[in-house]
Amino acid sequence: MLEVKDLSVHYGVIEAIRNVSFEVNEGEIVSLIGANGAGKSTILKAISGLHQPSNGEIVYEGTAITKETPKKIVEKGISQVPEGRHIFSGMTVMENLEMGAFLRKDKAEVQNDLNNIFARFPILKERMKQDAATLSGGEQQMVAMGRALMSRPRLLLLDEPSMGLAPILIKEIFHIIEEINQTGTTVLLIEQNAKMALKIANRGYVLETGNVVQTGTGKELLESDVIQKAYLGG
């Protein structure tokens, strides 16, 4: 479904990632694990068209989207929940969710999806009219996820959804990610929480200072030396 080939991205003269390649197949949850500054968010920015790569190719369903605008990429069915949530402060929870459906014209279906999101995150329905900035971190994460789902993505990119959340909430968020995946959405999940992320993943990649250093199924990686040493203290 998504194929990233030899991707390099620079910020000015700084090289954030070098020759990164990986793929995501339809229906999978793929986890990308890496420490701070490994270049995880950079990869997602490149996929979403927010930052142009200096080299390499991003192929989605057989066509290159490397040079497409963010708008085109959303239209094609890729949606991102950015690191740090980036909800729209000063706008209500409802308005935030509406923004996710910005490009959609099928009003009835949008309403339908909104109901589904409220069913999945009941707290958001209660807080519908509240300024999204006044929500707790966990609730904001739900807004960000709901907002991304409102575009009805076929591929959902999640950038550290567990960041700053209490363990019980992290569990819930990961459970929801699995549910979203089961309803037919392919997921590319970026995490530092390697244990949780690899547990729910079909496959994973380990990124170190801009390079993919290891790949395998979620289970294989969980048991691998790299992960045991660097992330699980084993």
Binding site: S48, V74, E75, S89, E95, L103
Partner: protein, 292 residues
């Protein structure tokens, strides 16, 4: 007491005009963090468009107002596309200096075409005076209140309820997140200039009617005062511009009436200095912590 109410009405008239101009400053600042120093000159061009439409095309008040708004809006969009958009990733000071350059260009362009002389604005509205218990309100003042009121309601509706308005707010708070929603940031910025400049154009025509005269330098002082109004209300906040504009208009009028009209402008700029020291976020501004 009567004179006080009378001055209040005069102050509100002037303040409405400042508010219309201040809205453009604040919206543009909200979305690209630029103090658009050419904004006062768009207001001036609006006044000249109104003048030309009435004088040369025999238009009435409303058609002239709408034409001035439309052409000012186009001018604003054009300026943004030509002068500011190529500088999207440049330093803020570079864009600011460009804005000052555009301001001079508009002033001198109009000096070239219309000359430096002050022109009498054609009085399309009969200047009737209504008098209620000793308080006088002119037809033109009523027109200023009415027009400003309608435009503000319309603006609130656009910003709060329409798709483009919501896109504007989204881009203002977080441009990259807005892009992730599929919002075209450039178009949204253009739309913001469109709205803000059309309001400035309307203010230009209203001022022409109110003070009877226009000239190519007329945008400088009101432009600055409207900027003060925007800062007073809280720059980037739409209701703040409305409150700030009315406040500055009232203060300026009261200082002239009860104090000394010579120090009127000094008081307004003094207010700017005071806000910047005491409450830089403005009346409605929240002291926002930088996001981590």
């Amino acid at each position: 007491m009567d004179t006080f109410i009378q001055q209040m009405i005069n102050g509100l008239s002037l303040g409405s005009i400042y508010a219309l101009i201040a809205l453009g400053y604040t919206m543009v600042y909200g979305i690209i963090k630029l103090i658009n120093f050419a904004h006062g000159d768009i207001y001036m061009v609006g006044a000249f468009v109104g003048y030309t439409m009435i004088n040369s095309f025999g238009m009435g008040f409303f058609p002239a107002l709408v034409t001035a708004m439309a052409l000012s809006a186009l001018l604003g969009v054009l300026i943004e596309r030509i002068a500011y958009k190529p500088l999207r990733n440049a330093t803020r000071i570079a864009v600011l200096i460009t804005a000052i350059g555009v301001s001079y260009l508009l002033q001198n362009g109009m000096l070239y075409f219309y000359g430096a002389g002050v022109r009498a604005f054609p009085q399309v509205l009969e200047n009737k005076l209504y008098s209620v218990g000793g308080i006088k309100v002119s037809q033109i003042q009523l027109m200023i209140f009415g027009t400003t009121f309608i435009l503000m309601i319309l603006l609130q509706f656009i910003v709060q309820k329409t798709k483009m308005g919501k896109a504007m707010r989204a881009v203002s708070t977080d441009a990259s997140a807005a892009q992730l929603m599929g919002i075209n940031v450039d178009n949204t910025i253009s739309f913001t200039f469109f709205l803000g400049s059309s309001l400035a154009g309307a203010a230009g025509v209203l001022v022409g009617l109110y003070y009877n005269t226009i000239d190519p330098m007329m945008g400088v002082a009101p432009g600055l005062k409207a900027f003060v109004a925007a800062v007073l209300g809280g720059i980037g906040i739409i209701p703040g511009a409305m409150i700030g504009g009315l406040t500055i208009g009232i203060i300026e009028t009261m200082v002239s009436a009860y104090g000394n009209s010579m120090i009127r402008d000094a008081v307004v700029y003094g207010i700017l200095i005071l806000i910047l020291i005491i409450r830089p976020a403005g009346i409605l501004g929240k002291h926002v912590k930088e996001k981590v």
